[in-house]
């Protein structure tokens, strides 16, 4: 008799719980009608950013394409008249990209960045492959003030030895002799 009473009580509790849930407001967010603002650092569509001077940040070092676990990034390095490296062409196959963000971590110039924008789905397979002009944006992304060439001691025609930020002019080692 005890057992039957216990069963009845627990059954009633269970049914009452589900009945209560029937009148709760669903948690569901109806997606196309309501778009939840995504966190700034969520990882989706990849962009190529520019430095504060408006020049391309990418120096075509191949680190992103090397670290990419699905090999979806490819490029061709080139050098312009000033001695700055750039990518002659840059291609990301979003059909393969798994949005892991390793390219962003590997990038020494903060050029390649992931954005929260994720609605770039298409039925046309060839449009899934983004070329350099599709990837380039006119801003600096998450780190707008960063300028790789202003800091790194890379020699170009625009800046020689000692011209970079936080860089002293080269020391004449002979003058250091006692």
């Amino acid at each position: 008799m005890r057992i039957i009473a216990d069963i009845m009580v627990s059954l009633a509790q269970g049914f009452y719980t589900t009945f209560k849930h029937l009148f709760r407001k669903p948690f569901t967010e109806s997606y196309p009608e309501y778009k939840r603002p995504l966190p700034e650092r969520s990882r989706a569509r990849i962009i190529l950013t520019r430095d504060p001077g408006g020049l391309e940040r990418c120096v075509a070092c191949y680190l992103c394409s090397g670290v990419c676990p699905v090999n979806c990034i490819s490029m061709q390095a080139a050098e312009d008249d000033n001695g700055r490296r750039y990518a002659a062409w840059f291609r990301i196959n979003f059909g393969r990209c798994i949005y892991c963000g390793l390219c962003e971590q590997a990038c020494p110039t903060a050029a390649i960045q992931l954005t929260p924008e994720f609605e770039h789905i298409t039925r046309d397979l060839l449009k899934i492959v983004y070329e350099k002009e599709d990837l380039l944006v006119a801003h600096g992304g998450k780190d707008p003030d960063y300028d790789f060439y202003a800091h790194a001691g890379v020699l170009t025609k625009l800046a020689g030895k000692g011209d970079h930020l936080n860089e002293n002019p080269p020391v004449d080692i002979r003058s250091n002799l006692p």
């Binding site: 849930h21 029937l22 709760r24």
Partner: protein, 328 residues
């Protein structure tokens, strides 16, 4: 001659009416279940096709018909093909004996509001219900897949076990009304519905009915977490659709039987009798959905224990008590 033709015309009208309502209701029962289950789980359920998702059954139907009809290479072709039909047809045929209104007089002739008033209606329903087991078992066997076979075997064992409890639980009802005909049983409930006289029988019947229609606390034949999809694992397209349809029609038949045997059938105030029956079927379906949202699946031994050690003795006891009361 003309009278004879008239009878056939009325019969065909009744059959088409019942089939239309039953199939439409089955489609919308699926939607109702999905919506309600969604709300029970604090989400919306399907709401994309049409407003509130009312076109969802149509979209599902189109999808199922257009899907590729796959057949495993090692399957027994003939049996594999007819198994879903057995499930759907037996479920649909059970509706033939369900009365949905009082006798009408049409052109001076009495027209009973039932497709076939058989004097052994209850036995007919149970016979068809037993035949439905063949669809499940043969479908599982003919697929030539271990999961489907296991599902089919479980289906056979479960449905045969619970049919006993199902049959025994309504004997008191038959004793009270003195007839196996569903029409007479409904007429006997003119005053009070049998649920008030036979609450235990009602409880046994509804539990066994859920087991018979393989609803969730008793869905071992299709146990997704264990068997893929159970006996219809290898089915796709409209063949799977027929199994699905059969299941929901079976749910309706069980709802109709509960309404007819315990809730007074079409009896009810104000509203027209067929509507009352419909409302009662939907009410039973709602309870079944609620149960689905609440209870977890039974273990196999628990299932057998409940059937053989609890429901059947309780049903036998109920017969004994009812018999004592009737004799006294």
């Amino acid at each position: 001659m003309w009278v004879w033709l008239f009878g056939y015309a009325v019969l065909i009208v009744k059959i088409s009416l019942v089939l239309t309502v039953v199939l439409l209701l089955a489609a919308y029962l699926v939607l109702m279940e999905r919506k309600l289950l969604g709300r029970f789980q604090v989400r919306y359920g399907p709401d994309r096709a049409g407003i509130y998702g009312i076109l969802q059954p149509i979209a599902d139907g189109i999808k199922l018909i257009l899907k590729e009809d796959l057949r495993p290479e090692a399957a027994d072709r003939l049996i594999f093909n007819i198994a879903p039909a057995i499930v759907a047809v037996t479920a649909l045929m059970m509706f033939a004996v369900v009365p949905f209104g009082p006798e009408l007089s049409l052109g001076g002739r009495k027209v009973p509001m039932v497709v076939a008033d058989i004097n052994i209606g209850v036995l007919y329903v149970f016979a068809l219900s037993s035949l439905g087991v063949y669809g499940v078992t043969l479908g599982g066997w003919a697929s030539n897949s271990k999961f489907a076979l296991l599902g089919g075997i479980r289906g056979a064992a479960q449905m045969i076990s619970y049919e006993l409890a199902l049959g025994l639980s309504i004997i008191p009802v038959v004793m009270l009304s003195g007839s196996f005909s569903l029409v007479d049983i409904v007429n006997a409930q003119d005053g009070i519905p049998f649920i008030l006289l036979q609450p235990l029988a009602f409880l046994i019947f509804i539990v066994s009915a859920m087991a018979e229609s393989k609803r969730i606390p008793f869905d071992l034949p299709e146990a997704e977490t264990e068997l893929g999809a159970g006996y219809h694992t290898e089915y796709s397209g409209m063949r799977f659709g027929l199994f699905f349809l059969g299941e929901y029609v079976h749910m309706q038949v069980m709802g109709a039987l509960i309404a007819v045997l315990f809730l007074g059938g079409w009896h009810g105030p104000i509203l027209p009798p067929p509507l009352w029956l419909l409302l009662k079927i939907i009410a039973v379906a709602l309870v079944m959905i609620w149960v689905r949202a609440t209870l977890p699946r039974l273990r196999y031994d628990q299932l057998m224990e409940l059937g053989w050690k609890v429901l059947i003795p309780a049903a036998l006891l109920n017969i004994l008590i009812t018999g004592a009361f009737i004799a006294a």
